[in-house]
Each structure stands twice: as C-alpha cells, then as structure tokens.
C-alpha cells in the first residue's frame, strides 16, 4: 500500500518543483535536445556551414567495427570499475563499523581519495606504474614480471580500472558506512544470541537491510564509469594501446574536442544517452526487485 500525500490546488506543488525542473531543463533537456539536433548534421568546426545528413552520422558510426568494439570495452570497463569500487568499499565499511576506537581517523583517511580529481588520480597511478620510473613496475620487474601497459592492452585496462575505482571507493565507503550504522543493533544482537556467527549475520541480516544503498550505489557507479572516467583515461592511456581502453565517452571527447567532428561526437552522445537510459531502466526493472526498502 503506497502512501500518498494530497496537496490542495496546483500552485504550491508547481512552485516547489519549479527549481528542479528549471535546473533539469537548462542543464539536461536543453543540451540533450541540442545533441540530438546536431547529430543529424555534419557541421564544419567553425559553424560556417552545416550539412543535413539525417541518420548518416549514426550509420557511419555503427558501420565502424572499432566503434562497435568500443561498446564491449565500455561494458567490461564499467563492470570492473563498479565491482572494484563497491566490493572493497563494503569490506572496509564492515570493518570500520566494527571498530570501537579510532573509527573517526580511519573514516577520514578513507574519504581523502575522493577529493582527488580523476585526472590527478590518473597521473598518480601513472607515476606508480610508469614503465621506466614507476615504483610498482620496478618491484614487478624484480619479481620477474615485465609490466608494460603501453603495449599490453590487458594491463592498460587493469590500470585505468584501478585508477578510476580508487577514488570511488571512498564515496561508496561513506554510503555503506552510513547504511551499516542504520542497521538496528537489536536485530543483530538477537541473531548473535541465537548463535549466528559474523558472516552468517552479515549475509542473512545486514546485507539484505542495506540493499537500497547498494542499489543506489550500483546505479551511481555505473553512471560514473560511463561518464566521469575520461579524465583518467586521457591522462593514463589516451584510449590505447590500440583501442583497448577507448570507452564510449572517451571517443565522444576525442572526436569532438580533438578531432573537431561535432556531428559524429553529437551522434555518439545520443547513443550514449540511449545506452545509459536503457541500462537504468533495466536496473530499476530487474535489480530493484531484489531490493528491500
């Protein structure tokens, strides 16, 4: 049974939602509409002339095997970033939740990486794994492993995933930690008295109770992996080697802002918009069924 609050009249609700509608219109609907409109043209960079091509830009993109391959790259990348940022975050939050002393310090330290901008995080990780001066690649070399993300696509992907997930762990940690704190102690204590050990309690009680948070983070992290990681990729690999780290949003950036191909770049944004829209629908339709509010 859903609860409904009824307002009398329509002026007050309209005024209340107006700011949000306005912000969405200016920062979302208008640019999205512009992107859809521009995706139908091949303009020259200076805006002097523009040629209507209908769906020509989409045809050009989808007939390109390298663009289609970038969907797979994006899927792998987003999945890995989401997993690598959520699982460690949950683990750290569970540990922090059990701390009695010093949890404030621990918490603060864990949140720090979130303050680091993606591009800066990219440079930090690049330094550690630099094939020539990197600390970690140097150690790996001593262990007999020849680290070379400049030519090895798998290593490059691993590196951008770690660099993208790293700062995100803090963000996820914060939410998981808050969720864990809100799990009623009495339920856990009752289970403990019944003889359930820690992991049994965690999987049987705690995890189901924090699924709303986990679901929220899943959606947010997928969107993050799709849209906000191009700074990391730009600084670490530039989409290479070959095309092993060229995710969809990076291609939007490089075709639009480096290649000056605004038509193709707009068409790619529209495709990306559709993909993320579909993904969110799927998440809400199927994954949310397993969420207990």
């Amino acid at each position: 049974m859903e609860k409904r609050v009824l307002f009398k009249g329509w002026l007050l609700p309209l005024v209340l939602i107006a700011p949000q509608v306005l912000i969405s219109a200016v920062f979302f609907f208008y640019p999205a509409a512009q992107a859809i409109w521009q995706s139908l043209f091949i303009p020259d960079p200076f805006g002097l002339s523009s040629k209507f091509v209908g769906l020509g830009n989409f045809e050009f993109l989808l007939s390109d095997p390298f663009y289609r391959a970038s969907f797979v790259t994006t899927a792998v990348f987003s999945l890995l970033v989401t997993l690598c940022s959520m699982i460690p975050a949950l683990f750290l939050a569970v540990i922090a939740d059990r701390l009695i002393k010093g949890s404030g310090v621990y918490r603060t330290m864990l949140i720090w990486p979130y303050a680091v901008a993606p591009a800066v995080a990219g440079v930090l990780w690049l330094f550690m794994f630099n094939t020539r001066v990197g600390v970690i690649s140097w150690y790996l070399g001593h262990l007999g492993y020849d680290w070379n993300h400049v030519l090895n696509g798998g290593e490059a992907m691993g590196l951008v995933v770690v660099a993208s997930a790293w700062g995100r762990i803090s963000y996820n940690f914060l939410f998981f930690f808050a969720a864990l704190q809100s799990v009623p102690r009495s339920v856990i204590e009752a289970a403990a008295i019944d003889g359930a050990h820690f992991w049994r309690r965690f999987f049987g009680i705690v995890l189901p109770l924090i699924t709303p948070t986990a679901f929220f983070l899943l959606v947010v992290n997928v969107v993050y992996a799709f849209f906000e990681t191009f700074g990391v990729i730009h600084t670490i690999t530039g989409g290479g080697p070959q095309q092993s780290t060229t995710i969809l949003v990076y291609k939007v950036f490089s075709d639009g802002f480096v290649g000056q191909d605004l038509g193709s770049s707009s068409a790619q944004s529209v495709i990306l918009l559709v993909v993320v829209g579909l993904l969110t629908v799927v998440q809400f339709k199927y994954v949310e069924k397993r969420v207990h509010y």
Binding site: I42, P43, D44, P45, F46, G47, L48, K51, V53, F60, D64, F66, T131, R132, V133, V150, L151, N152, G238, G239, G240, P241, Q242, Q243, S254, D255, F257, V258, G259, Q260, D261, G263, S264
Partner: protein
C-alpha cells in the same frame, strides 16, 4: 639611481593606459608555456616597444589542440583573436574554413608591410602555401626529426660512436651490436607517426596520401601502406620483437628515457635540443635522420612539424594593418635568428639561417644546423612538400593504434597499414563531405 628607476617605472605605468588607448590592439593566442612562453612574450614586448601604433596582446590558451578549440569556440561566439596559433595538423581544418580565416599573403599585401614570399625557406613555407604559391599562414615554430646519439652508450656497449648511421641498414647493424654489447634500450622514438610514416614517406620521396599528399584536393586517400613504408615498419617490428626498439608511447615519452642516458639512439624533433642539452649528462650528438639505401639512393628532404600563425576574419582594416606589421616583425631576420638559436626550431627565412651561421652559432653548437640542411638540401617534391589532410589529428590517432598493433606483434605491418588506410580514408571522406 634606484629611486630614479622607480620614478621612471611609476611614470611609465601611469602613462601606459593612456598610450594603449590610442593604440590599436591586436590579440594573439598561442600554445606556449614555460621557456617558450617567455620567449614569445619577449618577442611581443619587443614589437610593442618598437613602434607606437599597435599593441599586440599575447595570451596562452592551453596546448595545441586546446588553443585551436579556443579559437574555434571564440569564432563561433564572434570574439575571435586576430592571430591564432594552429599546429601543422590543423592546417587542413583552417584552410577549409574559408570565411573564418584570411590568407596571410592577402593581409600582408593590404597592410603594406614588408613581405617577400621568396625570403622564406621553401620546405617550411610549402606546408602552409597553396599549390598556386600563395602563403596562407605564417610559419612560426617549425622543427624536423633528426637522429640523436648517446655516444657514451655506444662506447659502453663496445660500438664505435663515430660509425656511419646515415642509413637504416647501418642503424640495423648498430642495433645488433648495441644489443649484443648489453644495451637494454638501443632505439626509442618520439612521435612515431610523424617520424616513421609522415617524414619517412617524404624523406624517401614516396607519397603518404594521393593528390600530392592532399595539397591538390580534398578527394585524397592515404597511401601509407606502400611497399617502402611497410618494409620500414616490418624492420622496426623485428627490432621491437628482439628488444632493440623500445616503444614508450604515442607522444614524446621516449625523451625521458633518452635524456636519462638509458637509450642509445633516439629519433626526435630537432626542437628536442634545448631539453636534451639541459638534462643529458652524457656525450650526445645529432645526426641526420637515417634513410633506407634499398629504397632511395639518397634522401629527399624531411617535412616539418610545429605551428603556424593564422589570421582570423571579422576585424577592422586598421587592426589588420597591425597584424601585418607584427607578422613582418616576426619574419625579420634578427628576430628569427634569435628564435632559432634559443629554441632549436628552424629559422623560417634563409636570411635568418645565414645570420646564425655568420654569428658562429653552428660552430659553437655542433649539429644544430643538421635540421636546416636536411630541410633545405633538396627542392621539395610533391611527396615532400608536407601533408594537408582533414581530420588529421584523428587519423594520427588511428595510425598510432595500428602501429601499436605492429610493435606488440598482433598484426603484420602490411595488415596494420591496410587497416589504417581504410579507417583513415573513411574520415577523409567525412571531411570531404563536410567541406565541399
């Protein structure tokens, strides 16, 4: 004395705004930071001090791509600068933007400033000149690839550092000997597409693209999968497989490896001079870029990289006069000679090269003239005048990807270049249809 200076400074500060108001302002956007940024600022200050009719205001707008983007965005908002620095890769984009730019030869003719197109070095100006010989943009900073040699690394590996490295055949022998002598990094490169494909093609007088490398029309197709290029890349692939050629990245990452003394040979721009001279703690030397004896009896000329200055449309006639005066000032042989000596970039006029030689600079800094000789020894052909391809920044990205497939052994040189051709041609067709 000090008080007097301060007093003068105060007076000049008070006077400047009034003086500036009477002068015509010329906006100049460029992509230089650090030492190069200071040198550009010094040129601008010298021009402003030399006359009182115009004030050039220089501003830094990010790296090459960002500067071009800033110029384009500003044009769309009708706030474009008078002069915009555009890297050589953006040349076709600017050329196609008729209505957004004004050809330099036209601006110079109208402004009445001194301008002699013949004074500029052919292979430098050729890149920015129409097939009819009209100069479209003023070459500003131009460099060309050369071979850098770490003599100490040669000696350490027991290889004679004075050996002939003028051909790739000989370089191959040197790489074998270096590797056998325990050198871990016999060869690195910067800007792989620029050096090992674009310049390689010009240097061996084979086409990189049809229609005179794009100079003769937009309906150009890549020809980088020819036998000469494939043979070179196959040799490089073998060297990469044996650890004789070390791949470090798409840009100039290899510079760090060379400057630290780790690598024996380095193919890089002549403009790498300042950095190598400042950092290298070993005995280094500049040699001409090698060529394949099997492909050409003697090398043609290399082509340039760098940027030129474009004059943007939509300003007052009076301001264009100022632009003309400023460009003439930049081309004057004193300014050019100084720029050439300070930066390692090529002089854009023959007179500036001669002045540098007369001043004894080349004798004091051996090897700094190799780039000039390499560019000017031969009259450029249709294959070595330069490249004029639309979407070239993206095409270079494609070439980088395909070259990585060669170095990692995933593809043969032929397969990779065939793929680069078909992918690049698709972009060229797009550019053609956008600019027809």
């Amino acid at each position: 004395m000090k008080t007097k200076m301060l007093g003068l400074a105060a007076v000049s500060t008070m006077l400047t705004p009034i003086a500036a108001a009477a002068e015509t302002e010329v906006q100049f956007w460029h992509a230089f930071t650090g030492r190069l940024g200071e040198l550009v600022a010094a040129q601008v200050d010298a021009f402003n001090a030399s006359q009182s009719d115009y004030t050039v205001v220089q501003s830094h707008k990010g790296n090459y791509s960002e500067t071009l983007n800033a110029g384009i965005a500003a044009f769309r908002a009708q706030e474009q600068p008078h002069i915009l620095m555009v890297f050589e890769v953006g040349t076709a984009t600017m050329m196609a933007a008729q209505g957004a730019v004004r050809p330099v030869h036209e601006v110079m003719a109208e402004s009445g400033a001194t301008f002699d197109p013949d004074a500029y070095i052919g292979s430098v100006k050729g890149y920015y000149t129409t097939t009819d010989g009209d100069m479209l943009s003023l070459p500003f900073n131009s460099s060309t690839p050369v071979l850098w040699v770490n003599r100490d690394a040669f000696k350490a590996a027991g290889v004679d550092p004075d050996m002939d490295l003028s051909t790739w055949e000989n370089v191959g022998t040197a790489l074998d000997a270096l590797k056998a002598g325990g050198e871990d990094c016999p060869l690195v490169t910067a800007w792989q597409s620029w050096i090992h494909l674009e310049n390689f093609s010009a240097y061996h007088n084979v086409p990189f693209a049809s229609q005179d490398n794009g100079f003769a029309g937009l309906d150009t197709e890549l020809m980088l999968n020819g036998p000469a290029q494939v043979a070179h890349l196959s040799a490089m692939q073998d060297w990469a497989k044996d650890g004789k050629f070390i791949y470090t990245g798409r840009r100039n990452e290899g510079g760090a490896n060379f400057r630290s003394g780790e690598c024996a040979l380095f193919t890089e721009s002549s403009a790498g001079y300042a950095g190598i001279k400042a950092e290298a703690e070993f005995d280094f030397e500049v040699r001409p870029l090698p060529y394949w004896k099997a492909v050409a009896d003697e090398p043609q000329n290399t082509i340039i990289g760098g940027a030129s200055l474009w004059v943007m449309a939509g300003h007052e006639a009076e301001e264009y006069k100022g632009v003309g005066e400023f460009l003439a000032f930049l081309s004057s042989s004193d300014v050019q000679a100084q720029w050439h000596q300070d930066t390692g970039y090529l002089p854009i006029t023959a007179a500036a090269g001669d002045a540098t030689r007369a001043a004894g600079f080349y004798d004091e800094n051996p090897g700094t003239d190799i780039a000039v000789i390499q560019m000017t020894a031969k009259q450029p052909t249709a294959n070595s005048k330069g490249l004029r391809l639309g979407s070239f920044d993206q095409i270079r990205g494609i070439i980088d990807e395909e070259l990585e497939a060669i170095w990692s052994g995933d593809k043969t040189a032929q397969a990779a270049m065939d793929s680069a051709k078909s992918r690049g041609d698709a972009l060229l067709r797009r550019f053609e249809s956008a600019n027809r």
